[in-house]
Symmetry: C2
Subunit: 145 residues, 2 copies
């Protein structure tokens, strides 16, 4: 398994996809998103439903409805999505899974893992949801295939 749960991977990809579409003015339905990022449709629906309930992504029902981001949401850091889906385990936990691992009672790899986690945290915090729209436009980066 990767660093994040599969659910979280889908969430991140979907969010980038929606942001990209938002930038070109519209809303996107689940069918298109799931195709665009290569995820199971019904499962992604659940994930976005949850993000929507939390106010992270916006949604509209009915014809011409779909998912989108309002302006302030586009500036959100990716860490918000990760935290909503996977919790803060990636940022704060002990690499060896020790509950009480800390500065005072560190595991053998405490400091090294701390560095790595901080780097992940920094990356996710400084990356905003709407940040890759141009690259995606230009086909410089991909969310599928």
């Amino acid at each position: 398994m990767g660093i994040f749960s599969k659910t979280c991977e889908y969430a991140m990809r979907a969010v980038f996809f929606i942001a990209h579409r938002t930038a070109s003015g519209g809303r996107v339905g689940i069918k298109e998103i799931s195709k665009g990022i290569g995820s199971p449709e019904a499962f992604l629906a659940k994930i976005l439903q949850d993000l929507s309930r939390r106010g992270i992504v916006q949604s509209a029902k009915g014809p011409n409805g779909g998912f989108y981001f309002d302006k302030s949401s586009l500036k959100r850091p990716l860490s918000d999505i990760v935290e909503a889906v996977d919790g803060d385990g990636v940022f704060v936990g002990c690499g060896l899974g020790l509950e009480y691992c800390s500065e005072i009672s560190p595991c053998p790899l405490h400091n090294q893992f701390k560095d790595i986690r901080n780097q992940i945290k920094d990356l996710l915090q400084k990356t905003s949801i709407g940040e890759f729209n141009e690259e995606l436009n230009l086909g410089l980066t991909a969310l599928r295939k």
Copy 2:
């Protein structure tokens, strides 16, 4: 969840624990290991059974039996354990879970994740199983509590 599976966390802790004991001359039984690292006994037995089959850890049955490391095994990098248990997903996969993410067709965070993964890889490769025995002896680091 953390960076590694729970199984892998138990495996790493157990391996450090056994190495520590090996250094002071003996073998350790499952009961003692699982107590020492705070893991379910039967489950850890399965994990070590697997590592033993792979030749990563040595074992002996009967009275005075238990798990231990021979000299060359003590020098093994921690990455061998992680790879045996969790596969190479931590080292090589795409952060967003894209199967075909690569230099040619990168995901938006490809390069950043590559850095992080390489750091994890380096850490696990340069850390040997027997490396922390002195710290553990001195109580400077902990595997439990």
